[in-house]
Symmetry: C3
Subunit: 303 residues, 3 copies
């Protein structure tokens, strides 16, 4: 594994290896001194060309807890304003002897393209509607914490499946780990070919949640709603939102995941977001561990 | 002391403990190698949702000189653009095992609100017109450097008292440390209830400065002047500005403080800002030491 | 040498001392653990008041590889929005016991002005149309890697000489190191007095390239072209662009430099930019080493 561009490319063994490594990393963040010398003197550059707080901070913390030097590049105030090509910028960062580039971009395929041109490992931190592999890895990690195994478990993903890189990466990750994956959402938000990915497309939340062990609620883009993919936020919430009533449709003990930031009262009600079945903050904690594992493995750790 | 939200909440003993600790920290910044391992492996996140250079840099340097990992979050390019609630963002940062959040916001009460929801220490780095406690601590620290004690000393604070978080925090700090505090400014800029804070409200700069040992000149917001709280910058400057003539009204040897950035020629004349009685750059130096002390004490140092 | 404000001020010996030091620094970035403790506990502040990615990242990496604490200040979100003077901001940063300020600004002379007011070393990272000394140092370093010596060698600089701080700094650096320097570009882009700098002004690229050992292609500002200094990008490219045909006018084995970011197909064709004679990515690698050398020497290293 030279890059982490998407879950689609990974074998079950590769996914499991990352998750096992993340398990060891998790403990580091619980220490008083949350820092190990593993990547001392390595240079990790976070290239975030789409706005982000939590993912950038998560990668930055992951790098620093491994003692790497973390450098941030954002689109604001960057030379991209000067019409530089992305590839040229990445080649430049690599030429400064960077050890790894973390790349987020609005356009699907940008991390892949850079990985083919630049001689250093590239981690996709979210590219357009394509993939967000570290999100899926932390989702799987969080589900495994509660369930022990995903073999034969039912995972329901609800929301704008068609435009969600999280949904795509989650579908790959959960199916590769042996789960049965169902998706649900307004018809305009379900890709026609989705069942080719090995998932079941459900018309209603009732159908999707029946016996589900893991519920993944996607963030709804308010712009998309107003942009006519769905008549109104209120109707979306009533039809596809999660609250304590709809939660009862799932398996008792089912857990709730959300990639954040959450729209309280839209796709998820506050009383579910803040209560027992929600693993939303565990996901955030685990995200640092998963990213530490990815940085470690891609810079030659464990080989 | 679990958080630092304002000086109003602090006892004299707590203030003195921070200042004594800052005294020890001051020496670290004077070494060639300005770094001690005290907070190695701790994660300090600076959440600056209102633009700032000096305060953010001061906190960042303070964290780094204690060997903490410092992470910056600003409103530009953050997920707050996605309408995330502040509390959710702070809960996320805490879930990444942050050890302390430093928070600046345009709205009074935001650090307090976050401190009640988030399980990590919160430091208020300025919230609306409410408080700016580390500024008051560095002001007191700087005054004590010159005067030894504030008991019975006279402190005059001049400017837009009503809208100044520095003024509020300074009033609490200097009165708690035993000083007599006077405020002066245009009538539209003096809160009606100000004397309830234990200070004397003065009509003129002459009255405020008579026998004063410490003069605190507040930054005047040009927008507020043009916005009709006062007729013109020139008139403000002539009535409430500090120059070498008005300085002579104070006690010989009086010192001059200013939270910066200064408006040269408006609230303070260049010949005073750059001369002997000014302790403006000492304040900046001391600010790093005071913030090191706060970070140290709130992350469990000395307990 | 207390500051690095421009190449104009440097003697040949000083230039050679920086380049010799950079040679030693280059090896550090090739190690697996790219970090030496040389500047541990030193505070380097990058004040970039003009947008930049590569130069800021290069200085930040240079500081971190020497174990210095690197702090970034940009114009976005800074207190300069509050009309603070640049000098006051720099005085503040120095008062926080910074060890060195790296300054980029749109206005020529700003680093010089700050160096006269602020008691810490200042490095010019590009000021208006004046100088960009670390760029010239890395250009000279890269040329020396290929040529061994610049004595008697021919260097051709092509583009908007009049508005290029890189051209000015390169002219000083290459002539001081013994090279014959020629400049070429549209008449509107060649300063009238350029020959007073000891260079030869050429009308055509043929004249400039004849027997040249080093070709420096400047980035063309598209705004300047559209702004009537030259009729069209296409005509510029045909008259003063570098491609494999025009490259053959130079000395066999001539190397090609460019300060980046490159406009592919405008001042340089992709087949030259990405091929053997191009040293563009070596320049970037060497830039980190040259900046490490400058930080080291100006903070008292080697004295």
């Amino acid at each position: 594994m030279r890059h982490l561009l998407g879950i689609e490319d990974l074998s079950r063994e590769q996914i499991e290896r990352i998750l096992t490594t993340a398990d060891a990393m998790l403990e580091i963040s619980q220490r008083e001194i949350k820092r190990v010398p593993t990547l001392r003197g390595r240079t990790v550059i976070n290239v975030f060309l789409e706005s982000s707080t939590r993912t950038r901070v998560s990668f930055e913390i992951a790098a620093k807890r491994l003692s790497a030097d973390a450098i941030n590049v954002s689109s604001a105030g960057s030379s991209l304003a000067k019409a530089e090509t992305l590839t040229d910028m990445a080649l430049n960062l690599a030429a400064m002897n960077a050890d790894l580039l973390v790349v987020r971009d609005r356009t699907a395929g940008v991390p892949q393209m850079l990985s083919e041109r630049v001689g250093v490992p590239v981690v996709n931190a979210g590219d357009g509607c394509h993939e967000h592999p570290t999100q899926a890895l932390l989702d799987a990690f969080t589900a495994l914490q509660s369930l022990g195994s995903l073999e034969g478990r039912v995972v329901a993903i609800v929301g704008d499946i068609a435009h969600s890189r999280v949904a795509r990466s989650d579908i790959y990750a959960f199916t590769k780990l042996g789960a049965e994956v169902r998706v649900a959402g307004p018809a305009s938000m379900i890709p026609l070919e989705v069942e080719a990915l090995g998932v079941k497309s459900c018309r209603t939340i009732e159908e999707a949640f029946a016996g589900a062990d893991v519920i993944v609620m996607l963030r709804i883009q308010r712009e998309r709603i107003e942009g006519a993919l769905f008549p109104s936020l209120r109707e979306y919430s009533q039809t596809f939102g999660l609250d304590s009533a709809t939660l009862r449709l799932a398996h008792p003990g089912a857990i709730v995941l959300h990639p954040g930031p959450i729209n309280r009262g839209v796709e998820i009600s506050p009383e579910v977001a803040d209560a027992e079945p929600s693993r939303i903050l565990d996901q955030v904690t685990n995200g640092v561990a998963v990213r530490m594992a990815v940085l470690y493995l891609l810079t030659g750790g464990g080989s």
